[in-house]
């Protein structure tokens, strides 16, 4: 029954799922508790400009996405904090600007853009080994940053104003957190694609919040959720021959829906004294 595990593309897919779940489990918790889902979605979509740039320059699009997503994190963070434009408008504008740039770059590239769709919708079953190493390095950077800045990130997310009054450079810290989110998005793109990245950043973390009030435990639980669910999704997509990224998101949404719904029923029963 498990003979499909022998295929190296399946092994790569499982490794990619684990690496992605670690990144999104940890960083997704910050995205959810700091309520920066929208700006994270903006960074993800704007990084499509990097895909286009990669094709245009004839390099691996992953190396185009990396600087592009970092740049869009810095620009979005700065504009939303410093300018008088309302934050959500600024994000909306930069979100579509990045995508438009990507489309222009792809159009200007002579010939056919191979596997463009995998960057938009992800295809974990085609992740090459070289991308796995790239994801591993990014995972190590993300883990290291969170280990070193744990108390600063916690203070920033909980009460930014108080942390500023304490004399911490909160604006720089916030931009740094956005850059770490950008790195996470790069890790996740191969798994579910730009369009669906935001689901991996929000669903496992939101789900883990139902089980604990401790940030570190939330991170651990969402890594476990992410891994179990994305592996299930890969299995289903292989068995049913449907796109892997979308299947993972469907399973995630279903589990989240059932968990929230189930918990609310339990709670209302408890409250009604039954």
């Amino acid at each position: 029954m498990f003979d499909f595990l022998q295929y190296s593309f399946i092994q790569n897919a499982l490794a990619a799922a684990v690496l992605a779940s670690i990144a999104c489990g940890i960083i997704g918790v910050y995205v959810v508790v700091k309520k920066i889902v929208f700006i994270s979605g903006g960074i993800a979509h704007a990084s499509f400009g990097g895909v286009g740039l990669g094709y245009y320059l004839g390099i691996n699009p992953m190396f185009g996405i990396l600087p592009f997503s970092l740049l869009s994190a810095l620009v979005m963070g700065t504009v939303s904090k410093k300018s008088k434009i309302p934050e959500d408008s600024a994000i909306g504008i930069l979100w579509s600007l990045g995508m438009a740039l990507g489309i222009i770059f792809v159009y200007l590239t002579p010939g056919y853009a191979p596997d463009l769709m995998t960057y938009l919708f992800g295809n974990i079953l085609t992740v090459p080994r070289s991308d796995l190493y790239f994801m591993l390095v990014l995972d190590i950077i993300i883990l290291g940053a969170v280990y070193l800045f744990y108390k600063e990130f916690l203070a920033l997310c909980f009460d930014e104003e108080f942390t500023t009054v304490q004399g911490l450079p909160t604006e720089k810290l916030y931009l740094f957190l956005l850059c770490i989110i950008a790195l996470t998005i790069v890790v996740l793109i191969k798994v579910v694609g730009i369009i669906l990245v935001i689901a991996l950043l929000t669903i496992p973390a939101s789900l883990s919040r139902k089980f604990t009030h401790n940030l570190k435990k939330m991170m651990l639980i969402s890594i476990v959720f992410g891994t179990v669910i994305s592996v299930t999704g890969i299995g289903l997509s292989y068995a049913l021959d449907v796109p892997s990224g979308a299947t993972i998101i469907l399973v995630l949404s279903l589990v989240y829906g059932f968990a929230v719904f189930g918990m609310e029923i339990l709670e209302s029963r408890r409250n009604s004294g039954a």
Partner: protein, 254 residues
């Protein structure tokens, strides 16, 4: 002896609107409780933000302990208004109070023993140490307010600034809060802003009125003209339930 607060001709504007106008104010005493009252939208929070160095006045100078606010932050404890906070946030009482030590600990370092001692002491001062492992959402409003005071105390401040600390508290919890502030004011200067006139209780040593302009007479009494200038309507102040009129009768539409 350095002045705790010194404002000279401070003006703050948002666009064309003047929020604070020509404020001159000195607070010399290193302990005691100053209450600043004024209506909503009168610039109270702006005033605190100026003191905290979060907002630069476009004219005038601000000094705390003889230094600009950004340089004197380790001497200032801040208790923000806790409306609009996310109390579902996955953080415990202990972790909240430790964030008051973050500038003492230094970047990239773990909290040290002395930080933990300071946090423990602060929690004991506000009588909340037994709740240290609770998630903050599992506390009552009054308990939460005391946790925020503990976080400010963990910084070892010489000046404690509180923004509407009594909002959302029932009369009993308010009374407990004032008794706590009364103890704290022996060791530091405490400044509290509020829109609630009844908050001006027996424990306040000095009082100021703020509604764009600032009225301060270095005393507990507020001349009725100041109060009416501040609230821009006739105000009767009947203090802490004692059935007598503190201020003179005013005439309608005079």
């Amino acid at each position: 002896m350095e002045k705790v607060i010194e404002l000279k001709d401070v003006w703050v504007r948002y666009g064309t609107q003047t929020i604070l106008e020509a404020i001159n104010f000195e607070l010399k005493e290193p302990n005691g409780l100053l209450g600043i009252i004024g209506p909503n939208g009168g610039g109270k929070t702006t005033f605190l933000k100026v003191l905290l160095g979060l907002l630069k006045p476009y004219r005038g100078s601000v000094k705390l302990f003889g230094k600009p606010p950004e340089k004197s932050r380790e001497l200032v404890g801040y208790v923000p208004q806790y409306r609009g906070f996310d109390f579902d946030f996955p953080i415990s009482v202990w972790e909240v109070v430790l964030t008051g030590r973050i500038s003492h600990t230094g970047f990239l370092k773990k909290y040290r023993e002395e930080d933990k001692k300071a946090a423990e002491e602060a929690l004991k001062t506000v009588e909340m140490f037994q709740y240290k492992d609770r998630q903050i959402g599992q506390l009552s409003g009054g308990q939460r307010q005391r946790v925020f005071i503990a976080r400010a105390l963990a910084t070892n401040p010489k000046l404690l600034l509180l923004d509407e600390p009594n909002s959302g508290l029932d009369p009993h919890m308010q009374d407990e809060l004032y008794r706590l502030l009364n103890r704290l004011k022996q060791e530091m200067a405490v400044v509290m802003v509020t829109h609630d006139l009844s908050a001006v209780s027996v424990y306040v040593d000095k009082i100021a009125c703020l509604n764009r302009t600032f009225h301060y007479h270095n005393s507990r009494e507020i001349p009725v003209e100041d109060l009416e200038a501040t609230y821009q309507c006739p105000v009767e102040l009947i203090a802490h339930g004692i059935p007598h009129r503190v201020l003179e009768n005013h005439e309608e539409n005079s």
